[in-house]
């Protein structure tokens, strides 16, 4: 059940905080782990959802928000495009299941991105479908913001390496 995942995640973050003094190190570690999960989760996602290929960045962002988040975390963030070029999006979550059992961040961990795993997961999954992206937390409810906001910036598409393979 989801509780197991949320509790395990909490224990993991707690352990990382013990191991690493600096918040940035914990954040990096979470991001890297998320990346590892993302590259494998995408296969699971595609197998379960059997969705068609997305034809635009905005379709991709919608897919992440409406299908993937719903499937794995049971919530549907709202998507909005934040750039004129159509390559920057933000997902707004007003309910974040990962922090269900967390009341607040301890004072000495003020810059900890508790949910940084999510950023890594999205980044890893996108990379597996040949979309390079930068994913970061723009707002975080745990830090006192009104909502939790994840920003996705699609970078230049990675080149098709088929013809370069030797």
């Amino acid at each position: 059940s989801r509780e197991l995942f949320v509790l395990t995640y909490g224990a993991l973050v707690a352990q990382l905080c013990k191991d690493y003094e600096k918040d940035e190190d914990v954040n990096t570690c979470l991001d890297r782990m998320g990346y590892g999960i993302g590259v494998r989760l995408i296969e699971d996602f595609l197998a379960r959802s059997a969705v068609k290929k997305c034809r635009s960045y905005s379709e991709t962002a919608e897919m992440i928000a409406q299908v993937a988040f719903k499937m794995y975390l049971g919530v549907t963030p709202s998507v909005s495009c934040t750039s004129a070029a159509g390559d920057e999006f933000s997902l707004i979550l007003d309910k974040n299941p990962l922090v269900d059992f967390v009341e607040e961040l301890p004072a000495e961990r003020a810059s900890l991105c508790y949910c940084n795993l999510l950023c890594g997961v999205i980044r890893g999954a996108l990379e597996m479908v040949h979309l390079a992206a930068e994913v970061t937390f723009l707002q975080d409810k745990l830090k006192g913001d009104a909502v939790t906001e994840i920003g996705i910036i699609f970078l230049k598409k990675t080149e098709d390496k088929k013809h370069k393979r030797n």
Binding site: G36, R48, L117
Partner: protein, 150 residues
Amino acid sequence: MADEALFLLLHSEMVAGLYRAAEQGEGENGRCITKLENMGFRVGQGLIERFTKDTARFKDELDIMKFICKDFWTTVFKKQIDNLRTNHQGIYVLQDNKFRLLTQMSAGKQYLEHAPKYLAFTCGLIRGGLSNLGIKSIVTAEVSTMPACK
């Protein structure tokens, strides 16, 4: 269920991440297993609280073990323990012939030495659950053939 995949992946990443960190910095192998076990302990404590909120009081140790084998295991791993043995003197052996966290690895001798890493978390889980039910215990795991474990 999709949640399962998430948890399985998170668990593998946790094991890999901890060992990666241990290789780079200080920290011997044994500590990683302890860390994993401690994490499992915390999670086990929390989980058992939520599961037993509405259930009746347990009559005795055996009852608790049966609960762990059936309801607890089902909620966590979507199946029951295949075999429970006891010597009625405080030792219980739970056998799972198709342990979820090991099914992803090839069945064979190759990865036998790595199996304990994946079991540490679950041992902690059981120990945490039991501790919150008032039982102090030591939980160990043994893998002879993948994916079965005791």
